[in-house]
């Protein structure tokens, strides 16, 4: 098997004396979609946030594309250009138009020419049906539209991997589908993705593998279909039942 794009070994994280994550081990291969599932408070958001350095960790090792990630500010800045992330609360910058939100990082961080970035941003927007919103401000958009722009904003950096942290959790039900469809399309284009979600149907549809988190440790790492048809642990079974699945 080819080398993993991302591999995590013995990762441990604590806040003061509270241990949040213990002995986390997993690999993500290129083109793979991994769903990170677990009850609220199990540590899934914390875990996904440690992967691009938004949360520091105390022990263990992270490798990206074969290289050990030194947990230093400069390394994280580099890595964040290769790992895109989208949050529950969209977090478009309210002071910038949709187009400027998308062009900001490619021009200022990746130092690409605006003339080159802008047409690409326009076509990305068009591909998700938001072409006419380019010059609007975030407050003029619905939640679902904002979230799709946030995904486009991350994609404009040409990331090698995408992290999604509960991206549909604060959307109205009728908005959820559009955002999920966008992620399904990304998966079909072989984007490597780690997805924290509580949309079980979606996870089953899109994920290749499921990591199940219990109290800060991974208690199951199985192919997605197997996880849903035959939950590997009692805890996973209970979890699926609680999600009406």
């Amino acid at each position: 098997m080819a080398e993993a794009l991302l591999s995590v070994r013995h990762l441990e994280k604590a806040y003061q004396k509270n241990v949040i994550l213990t002995d986390i081990n997993f690999d993500v291969h290129k083109g793979e979609v991994v769903a990170l599932l677990g009850r609220s408070g199990s540590g899934k958001s914390t875990l996904i946030r440690t992967l691009n350095g938004l949360e520091p960790f105390q022990k263990g090792e992270l490798r990206f594309a074969g290289e050990v990630v030194q947990p230093k500010a400069a390394t994280w800045l580099q890595l964040r250009q290769k790992i895109g992330m989208v949050f529950q609360s969209y977090d478009l910058f309210p002071n910038l138009t949709v187009l400027d939100n998308i062009c900001l990082a490619p021009t200022k961080v990746a130092k690409r020419a605006r003339a080159e970035v802008e047409p690409e941003a326009q076509s990305l927007l068009a591909s998700v049906g938001l072409a006419e919103f380019a010059d609007r401000y975030p407050r003029q958009l619905s939640g679902g539209q904002k979230q799709r722009v946030a995904i486009v904003r991350a994609l404009a950096m040409h990331p090698e991997m995408m992290l999604f942290d509960e991206v549909t959790a604060s959307l109205d039900p009728e908005m959820v589908r559009g955002v999920l469809d966008m992620m399904v399309d990304l998966a079909k284009q072989d984007m490597t993705m780690i997805v924290v979600t509580h949309e079980m149907n979606f996870a089953r549809q899109v994920a290749d593998r499921v990591l199940f988190l219990d109290d800060g440790t991974i208690t199951a790492d199985t192919p997605a279909e197997a996880f849903f048809t035959a939950p590997p642990t009692a805890s996973a079974k209970e979890f699926l039942a609680s999600m009406n699945f």
Partner: protein, 229 residues
């Protein structure tokens, strides 16, 4: 009352001197606002960093300038700084240094408040896009914080203008000092002259400050309406 003294203000060089004093007042206020404003933005941004010794120092600076009355600060700079650094400073320079340091302290608090009012999520999502600290400040934090800081800054500007009335105390020929000189020269013959001079001074300060106060109030109201809507 008709010839009780207001006409003296328009005799000879009197009104011209009055306007010159007004010019000094304005000049000191504008320079103070510029220097103090820049100082305050820098210090305010520094106060959002998680650096303990720096926080203590900047907080101390703010508190000292808050506790000690501005008049006293003015005299401290007036007497102590030339002695300490063997500098010969004009009264106007003493005033600008004092007022700018005071403005910087007040402004740093306004800027810090506005910066920490920007949601943490905004910072994180800028980080996730790979923006470095300076870029986060430049493209995400400051553009969102400055509108929040604007009403407070305008109000600070009116306070600076009012504070310039202290110039008189260190013998700078500002509008108040010119007025007082005119009064001293003329009020023996015309007791009501003082009433007119100080009345006009009153009005001139009002004309400078009131529009700024209205402006601050209006944009603060608009901002609140927008954030509630």
């Amino acid at each position: 009352m008709a010839h009780s003294g207001i006409d003296i203000l328009f005799q000879g060089q009197n009104f011209h001197r009055f306007l010159q004093g007004f010019g000094v007042t304005l000049r000191v206020a504008v320079i103070t606002l510029l220097i103090g404003g820049v100082l305050g933005i820098v210090l305010g941004a520094l106060r959002t960093l998680h650096n303990r010794p720096l926080q203590v120092i900047l907080r101390l600076y703010l508190e000292i300038f808050r506790i000690v009355p501005t008049v006293v600060l003015l005299f401290v700079v007036y007497y102590i700084v030339p002695q300490l650094f063997h500098l010969d400073m004009s009264g106007e320079l003493v005033a600008i240094v004092t007022f700018a340091l005071w403005t910087g302290a007040e402004m740093s608090d306004i800027v810090r408040g506005a910066l920490i009012a920007v949601p943490q999520h905004q910072v994180e999502s800028a980080q996730a896009l790979g923006l470095n600290r300076l870029q986060q400040l430049r493209y995400v934090l400051l553009p969102q914080a400055l509108p929040v800081a604007l009403p407070g800054t305008i109000n600070l500007a009116t306070r600076i203008i009012k504070t310039t009335s202290l110039l008189l105390m260190i013998s700078v020929m500002d509008i108040v000092n010119v007025g007082q000189t005119l009064v001293e020269a003329n009020s023996h013959q015309h007791p009501a002259f003082a009433f007119w001079v100080y009345g006009i001074m009153f009005i001139m300060y009002y004309i400078l400050c009131a529009p700024l106060s209205w402006w601050a109030k209006r944009i603060e109201k608009q901002r609140l309406e927008r954030s509630n809507g």
